[in-house]
Amino acid sequence: MLEIKNLHAKIADGREILKGIDLSVKAGEVHAIMGPNGSGKSTLAGILAGRPGYEVTEGSVTYDGRDLLPLAADERAREGVFLAFQYPVEIPGVNNMYFLRDALNAVRRHRGQPDLDAGQFLKAVRAKLKELEISDDLLQRGVNVGFSGGEKKRNEIFQMAMLEPKLALLDETDSGLDIDALRLVSNGINKLRSPQRAMVLITHYQRLLDYVEPDRIHVLSQGKIVMSGDKSLAAELEKHGYAMLGDAA
């Protein structure tokens, strides 16, 4: 599903943030990318989703058999790349439901499916809410406006469920959540695991991985993947902290 080879990237001020990333994620797999602050985790997510402000200087990204990098952010989204934001953005005056319906219909049109009318959309929303066991209290509010941290993350997971991406990137989705919210969000992520879907979880802490069990864990440090392993790697990191990277980093 996702094939990253020797990816180098820099930001506007010329600093190189990614220094040769190799990563391969197959459909049905969940990979976790861990690492200390400033290691390049969010940059990687941003580049994959097409966030402006980065320049890829070397390497390639193949998604679903095609070159991902020339596509604009909205084209990537319609092709099935979803980014759950670390800091979901507020859009005042825009109803959360209308926003989601516009987005869903844009994606559906791209897939050659007909638009959902208001009734059909509402039905799909209800079904998804039930499946994810989340309440409907956010739907009639402005997009992320006045949402608590937990509500914002819950909304991201709900959007992901509605848009049914092939590649889901979750950027620090666990940050700033209390234990109940973490459980709710993790539960949502687990329900969205599917043989057709690849997921990349980006996280600073190991605690999300208590709830969502990844197939592979990679440790990113100073723009490179310095360690990869199975889920036991998380426990190791928990015990020794990122200091254990020592020489490897």
Binding site: A49, G50, D74, A77, I91, V94, D102, A103
Partner: protein
């Protein structure tokens, strides 16, 4: 009310007939020589067959105007206007304007397509000289018959002067006096035509009245004069303009609108102004200098202005309310967009005279390109306006880094019991907002349109339903090309 489709059908039907009412056909061969003096005013009045009192009224206005100078206080850069170079009475000429749609700015045609303007209307809106002009006067006459049965008068200003001289004489200039300001004085001297509405006591006008069905030729809009009177306990909702960008070779527009609401009456006046803004370099484009004012003459009267201003190279416009009656209410809801090199200086005046009067001002200014957008508003509470209330909210949205937004509130309170609130914000469409929308699958254009419509939501919801849907599309079209 008939659906818009029906109306268009009717329009199509009537445009194939030649126009057979009124004075329009008479004037086709006439026009006044360029220049403006008392003789020009006499010429216009004579051409329209006006009574002596109205000629005198025009002359009085003209004498005021001669002693006045154009306002310099607005934050607008305006090239000097030579008032003697223009012709103040010109019939539509078939050899001016573009000959066919091929000669019209292709950008304008694209816009028509995006707004879904029927092919049959595009030529007329673009100012192409065609034989079957989109002639809605005839449509208005069918509505007029229905309204007439109820006692509601809705007709051209010229017709009102002939048929209802007492009403016109009583109210004309009673809200905007001839010498009120430079442009109002000019309008009073040389106004071409306009609309007249009178709703009798206790009656709720059953349909939205619209100038869309009234403007007969594209070129009659230059010096429009509108007078709307709602008698005791009556209600009317009036729509002005249309969402299609109207091309007009008259660069200077100076309209006057007067509203009068008597006891317990309510007037809702909605405008979508989309005159040609000029091209991306600022060439061409209308100068729009409008004086709009309403008087709540009776207790518990209410006047509500809603405007969506997207067109014109220059907009100078302050729809205002004079709250004379006790417990009367004034409202102003505005969206103003400036893109490319457009300039807008717009806002309102709320003058509190009566007790317990209240006013609300919601202004949303959007600047893109190199556009300059100024909110200028006055809230004045006079000594006798016990317990007056005002709430003002001015929000500005910037798109890009070459545009400007300015807020100039004037607050004058002469009664200690008044409560006046003013809130203002300025924000920028952030890259994060755009990226968030795009990451969910929306194109750049759709993302911008969504964010801007969200910003304007409080104002757009005040528009009548049909108008609101069109206005949303219009906002998107107006901002095209403003994000890289």
């Amino acid at each position: 009310m008939t659906s818009p489709d029906d109306s268009l059908e009717t329009v199509r039907a009537v445009t194939s007939e030649t126009y057979k009412y009124g004075f329009v056909t008479d004037i086709e061969s006439d026009s006044a020589p360029p220049g403006l003096d008392e003789d020009t005013v006499r010429f216009i009045s004579a051409k329209k067959g006006e009574p002596q009192w109205l000629l005198d009224w025009r002359l009085q206005a003209f004498r005021h105007w001669q002693k006045m100078e154009g306002p310099q206080w607005a934050k607008l850069r305006i090239a000097p206007i030579d008032y003697q170079a223009a012709s103040y009475y010109s019939a539509p000429k078939n050899d001016s304007g573009p000959k066919s749609l091929d000669e019209v700015d292709p950008e304008l045609l694209k816009t028509y397509e995006k707004l879904g303007i029927p092919l049959s209307e595009r030529a007329a809106l673009a100012g192409v000289a065609v034989d079957a002009v989109f002639d809605s006067v005839s449509v208005a006459t069918t509505f007029k018959a229905k309204l007439g049965e109820l006692g509601i008068i809705f007709c051209s200003f010229g017709e009102a002067v002939r048929e209802h001289p007492d009403l016109v004489r009583k109210y004309l200039g009673s809200v905007v006096p001839q010498g009120d300001n430079f442009f109002a004085a000019l309008n009073s001297a040389v106004f071409s035509d306009g609309s007249f509405v009178y709703v009798p006591p206790g009656l709720r006008c059953p349909m939205e009245l619209s100038t869309y069905f009234r403007i007969n030729a594209a070129k009659s809009g230059q010096f429009e004069r509108t007078l709307i009177i709602c008698d005791k306990g009556s209600y009317v909702s009036y729509l002005e303009g249309c969402t299609a960008p109207m091309r007009d070779e008259n660069q200077l527009h100076a309209a006057v609108v007067e509203l009068i609401a008597l006891e317990d009456a309510e007037i809702k006046y909605s405008t979508v102004q989309n005159w040609y803004p000029g091209d991306a370099e600022g060439r061409g484009g209308i100068y729009n200098f409008v004086t709009k004012r309403g008087a709540c003459r009776g207790d518990r009267a209410k006047i509500s202005w809603t405007q969506v201003e997207t067109g014109s190279a220059i907009t100078w416009k302050y729809p205002s309310c004079i709250l004379e009656g006790d417990n009367s209410v004034g409202e102003f809801y505005s969206v103003a967009i400036t893109n490319n090199l457009q300039q807008a200086d717009t806002g309102t005046k709320m003058i509190h005279l009566g007790r317990n009067t209240s006013s609300t001002i919601i202004s949303k200014g959007i600047s893109a390109g190199r556009g300059q957008n100024t909110y200028r508003g006055l809230v004045r509470v006079q000594p006798k306006a016990q317990n007056a209330r005002n709430y003002t909210q001015c929000d500005s949205l910037l798109i890009g880094d070459r545009c400007g937004a300015h807020t100039v509130p004037y607050i004058e309170v002469r009664n200690p019991s008044a409560r006046v609130e003013h809130e203002a914000t300025t924000s920028k469409i952030s890259d994060d907002q755009m990226f968030y929308c795009q990451q969910r699958g929306l194109s750049k254009e759709d993302a911008l349109s969504l964010i801007v419509n969200g910003f304007c939501r409080e104002v757009l919801k005040e528009l009548p339903m049909e108008f609101a849907v069109e206005a949303q599309k219009l906002l998107a079209v107006s901002l095209e090309g403003s994000v890289g």
